[in-house]
């Protein structure tokens, strides 16, 4: 009978390493997180051979005293948690206390650290988890960890490492995620001596996104900020008209920690519904801020997934945050570069308009343990008020100031023009309503577009697209309320002969068609009689609309195929076929009515095909074009 033995630490560490350290990217993640937790302003990562040969992570953070450094190599020794209860309120990245010993257990490990308080720093060398030497070293404050020959003692695992290029990509993605969650930290990523990323500390998320992917990418992103009870959702979402199909960038963070969650991604896609074509996957960067007690981040060793106390509320928060932003006219395309995003405003360090730092990222660092006041403050920032970071916290910045303050945070959304007009305190909802409230002078051009002067410049409205949005929401409301559209009886009922499939469709759908306003009587022999029709506008062609609708519903189209149910199918088809056509002259009153009704809809900036209803030409852009700026 084998006696139960307590495993020696290095063996236990190797086992634990199996969970934590899977590949070079996991090492990079753990080390960079430690660096950020140590209050680093800049973290440099160097890879050799995809990290298989070596990974070096250097920071300028607080560093460790010798005893702490030695303790850090002990499993479950962590400076971040003292008692099990603290687990409930963790806001730092690493906390399981597994990282360093686990990495050390499967590599040739070297750690150099200095605090800036002691005169000498410490260098610890270890191999396979066993400490080989502890020396004095002279270095600047901070920590450098070098990990060589990863898995040299675990051939089974080493075998599963992929090609260096794939491992490099994976490390790069890891650094990207961390860079997106720690804006105030500068990053440099180097692979085999070649620079892959060079990011200076950023004031705003937009700046960081621009640093990683280029300014083009950042231009079409809209800032989001929405608070629903204890949940706050911030970040950036892509303008619907800029979104393309194919794999886009979709990042989620909770209390500053990246995570993946298909349910939330789906919720965001739902929010985009009808504003983008069905196969389009818009880019987004969403930062959720919740009281630490409302989210369990400790469900997965690599913390890739989290568990929410009230999942539906978080999903609803995400949906609502995006939806509200899409309801804003700013989500409509602009002509020329958007205001505040002209190339000239590059690099002057000023945050662009409409930007907001991700919640919880107020000062570029995270507090190891958030004070209770953080959760009382609506869970806005975990780090607010208790950040021990040696740097960053001391310099008030726009992003920093706004971090915990709902008012000034909202002010960041305001366009500069509005701020100048002394309306900086309005919320953007107020502005949107104010803009729509007073119907401006309207001009129809080419019998298809309506020009409207607004405080910010000029709106160009596509009359057909605008009416589509109006009709779609109206029909959906009828379905939801189970009331019907007012239906005008016809003096001369329409007798229409249809194809067999169309006839069958009409028979099947007659109840729904009636709710839309078409009273249809199947008459046999593929003939239907339309006794009553809706009257969405004075130029409505009931017969043409009905025929096109039935054809579309029978044969399918990109539009109706994108609908999620029969109601939406009919509403989309009715909106598209029944809306005022391009080429229709409109009177002043008709334009005013269209304008008012458009801005009474939920998503005035978007039609039902994923196209804009409105294009904005800002005063700034006009001034720029005329050389007045």
């Amino acid at each position: 009978m084998t006696r139960i033995q307590i495993l020696p630490d290095h063996v236990a560490n190797q086992i634990a390493a199996g969970e934590v350290v899977e590949r070079p990217a996991s090492v990079v993640k753990e080390l960079v997180e430690n660096a950020i937790d140590a209050g680093a302003e800049r973290v440099e990562i160097e890879l050799r051979n995809g990290g298989k040969t070596s990974i070096r992570v250097s920071d300028d953070g607080s560093g460790m005293e010798r005893e702490d450094a030695l303790l850090a190599l002990d499993r479950h020794a962590t400076s971040k948690i003292e008692e099990a209860d603290d687990l409930q309120a963790v806001s730092s990245f690493g906390f399981r206390g597994e990282a360093l010993p686990s990495i050390a257990a499967v590599s040739r490990f070297e750690l150099e650290t200095a605090t800036g308080e002691s005169e000498v720093g410490t260098r610890i060398r270890a191999r396979g988890g066993k400490i080989l030497s502890v020396d004095d070293v002279v270095r600047r404050p901070g920590t450098t960890v070098t990990v060589r020959s990863l898995f040299h003692n675990q051939p089974a695992r080493a075998k599963y490492l992929r090609a260096a290029s794939a491992e490099t990509r994976s490390c790069s993605e890891t650094v990207t995620l961390l860079a997106l969650s720690s804006l105030r930290v500068g990053f440099r990523l180097e692979s085999n001596g070649r620079e892959l990323l060079e990011l200076s500390p950023a004031d705003t998320l937009k700046e960081r996104v621009a640093g990683i992917w280029g300014r083009e990418e950042a231009r079409d992103l809209l800032s989001v900020d929405h608070t629903a009870g204890p949940i706050r959702v911030g970040g950036l979402v892509e303008k619907p008209d800029a979104a393309r199909s194919g794999g886009r960038r979709r990042y989620l963070f909770v209390n500053g920690r990246p995570f993946s969650d298909r349910g939330l991604v789906k919720a965001v896609d739902e929010a985009y519904r009808t504003t983008v074509a069905p196969d389009v996957r818009p880019t987004f960067f969403l930062y959720f801020s919740l009281p630490p007690s409302a989210v369990d981040v400790n469900v997965h060793p690599r913390k890739a997934e989290v568990r929410f106390g009230d999942r539906s509320r978080v999903e609803e928060g995400a949906r609502e945050a995006v939806r509200r932003r899409l309801a804003d006219l700013e989500s409509a395309p602009t002509m020329g570069p958007a205001a505040g995003e002209t190339p000239e405003s590059d690099g002057d360090g000023e945050p662009g308009e409409g930007e907001v730092a991700p919640a919880g990222e107020a000062d570029g660092t995270r507090a190891p343990l958030p004070g209770p006041q953080a959760s009382e403050g609506g869970g806005v920032t975990a780090g607010e008020g208790s950040a021990p970071a040696p740097s960053g916290a001391g310099e008030p910045t726009r992003a920093g100031e706004s971090g915990g303050d709902g008012e000034s945070q909202l002010a960041l959304f305001m366009r500069q023009a509005q701020t100048e007009a002394g309306e900086g305190e309005d919320s953007r909802e107020v502005t949107a309503t104010a803009e729509a409230a007073a119907t401006p002078d309207l001009y129809q051009v080419h019998r298809s577009y309506i020009l409207a002067q607004t405080r910010e410049g000029l709106l160009i409205i596509d009359q057909h697209a605008a009416h589509e949005r109006i009709l779609f929401e109206e029909v959906m409301r009828h379905f939801e309320g189970e009331t019907g559209e007012a239906s005008q009886r016809l003096l001369f009922p329409l007798t229409l002969r249809l194809s067999p499939a169309e006839y069958q469709a009409v028979e099947e759908l007659s109840g729904l068609l009636e709710q839309v306003g078409f009273e249809v009587e199947p008459f046999g022999d593929r003939t239907v009689i339309v006794h009553a029709s809706p009257q969405p506008h004075p130029y409505f062609d009931a017969e043409g609309c009905f025929r096109d609708m039935i054809r579309e519903l029978t044969e399918g189209s990109e539009l109706v195929n994108s609908a999620r149910n029969q109601h939406e199918k009919i509403a989309k088809s009715m909106a598209c076929q029944g809306a005022i056509k391009a080429g229709q002259p409109l009177s002043q009153e008709e334009m005013a009515e269209l304008f008012d009704r458009l801005f009474a809809t939920e998503l005035p900036g978007h039609d039902v095909h994923g196209r804009p209803t409105v294009v904005r030409l800002t005063l700034e852009e006009l001034e720029r074009r005329f050389g007045r700026s």
Binding site: T483, G484, A486, S487, Q488, R489, L490, L491, F492, G517, E519, H531, A532, Q535, P536, H537, P538, Y539, F540, D541, A542, E543, G544, E593, R597, A600
Partner: protein, 367 residues
């Protein structure tokens, strides 16, 4: 061309014709007015190719000739002139206008660029008193369709029969029809579909007392008096058989004061939906109760005494349709008839005179 004309005659002539000048056109000469001096008259003509009008006013013609002049500018100038004789002359396309100390030069276009008027043979013409024609036009043409998929309904049907004539207009939701007796007119039996804009021109160009001579060619219709002429293109195609939709079994009859009814509906229309303009009318014994409920806007209610002893009836209408009909109703009291909430309602003068009938299809009511 050289002539003198009184300011008032010039103003009157220009004012009469500018109505036919299209405000936007791709053919520049259509923005011009044709001026022709002949036999001590100045003839002014304008056209948008569908409808043409021409007026002749007295003038002292020194040299006969013709030219086209920018209609709007000439009209604006004439309006601002002092009360004095106007001297008008043209040398090629250069037009000079003098009035007292005022002196203008305008650039015209050659007269041969101006489209020729349609040829309508007035040998086969018939005569009608302008006032009667105006009445027919006014009470029906409002009901034409504005929707362009059925061009037929964009026109007014003018039916000529041996002893009567009628005009009918409908947009498929409501219909207006008026009939007048004809005696000794000798009009050919015909069904003509006339653009309402042309009828507007006829209404504004001819005085009530004038006798109008009407004639048709295959696709044009001409109206003329001694000094004025209007031509219009006719809309082709068979007009829907409206007789078969006029109900003959509506047995629920209500009579109301036209003004009171119109006012009540106008009040209701304020809170009616911008899109459907729906009002609900509940007829009970000697009273009609109005109700409007518009989501997101509000509600309104009203009541009016009427003469009604039919069964209780609830019916919905587009308030705008009712208002247009009542505005044109030629009597103090209006007689309404109904059959059911989904069937056509009729509106006529209670006195039965003139022979005027309007039809409105209801809007579906939902509770």
């Amino acid at each position: 061309m050289k002539l003198s004309i009184t300011r008032d005659n010039l103003q009157q002539g220009l004012g009469a014709v500018t109505g036919t000048i299209p405000s936007k056109t791709t053919l520049p000469v259509l923005s011009n007015i044709l001026l022709r001096a002949e036999d001590d008259r100045l003839e002014l003509s304008g056209t948008d190719l569908d409808i043409s009008a021409s007026v002749s006013v007295p003038a002292d013609v020194e040299a006969e000739g013709a030219v086209t002049a920018p209609a709007r500018k000439l009209n604006d100038i004439a309006r601002e002139l002092a009360e004095a004789p106007v001297h008008l002359s043209a040398d090629g396309e250069k037009i000079e206008l003098e009035c007292g100390k005022s002196h203008f030069k305008l650039f015209g276009l050659p007269e041969d660029e101006f489209p020729a008027f349609p040829e309508v043979d007035f040998d086969e013409s018939w005569h009608m008193e302008a006032g009667r024609l105006h009445d027919l036009i006014e009470r029906t043409s409002f009901a034409v369709s504005t929707e362009e998929s059925r061009p037929i309904l964009n026109g007014v049907l003018w039916q000529l029969r041996s002893d009567h004539t009628s005009m009918v207009a409908t947009n498929g939701h409501r219909l207006a029809m008026m009939t007048e007796d004809l005696e000794d007119v000798n009009a050919p039996e015909a069904d003509l579909i006339v653009p309402p804009k042309a009828l507007d021109q006829v209404e504004s160009l001819f005085d009530d007392e004038e006798e109008i001579e009407v004639a048709r060619s295959e696709n044009h219709l001409g109206f003329r008096s001694d000094e004025r002429v209007v031509f219009t293109r006719l809309i082709e195609g068979p007009y829907p058989n409206y007789n078969q939709v006029i109900p003959d079994d509506n047995d629920m009859i209500a009579t109301a004061n036209r003004d009171a009814l119109e006012q009540a509906i106008r009040r209701m229309a304020v809170v009616a939906s911008d899109q459907t303009h729906r009002v609900r009318m509940e007829f009970r014994s000697d009273v009609v109760h109005f109700r409007v409920q518009t989501p997101d806007l509000g509600e309104g209610e009203d009541e009016l005494a009427v003469d009604y002893d039919g069964e209780d009836l609830e019916i919905g209408f587009n308030a705008n349709y009712l208002l247009e009909i009542l505005r044109n109703m030629p009597d103090d009291d209006v007689k309404m008839s109904f059959k059911a909430p989904e069937r056509a309602a009729t509106f006529e003068p209670a006195s039965g005179d003139p022979d005027y009938l309007c039809l409105v299809m209801p809007l579906r009511l939902l509770d």
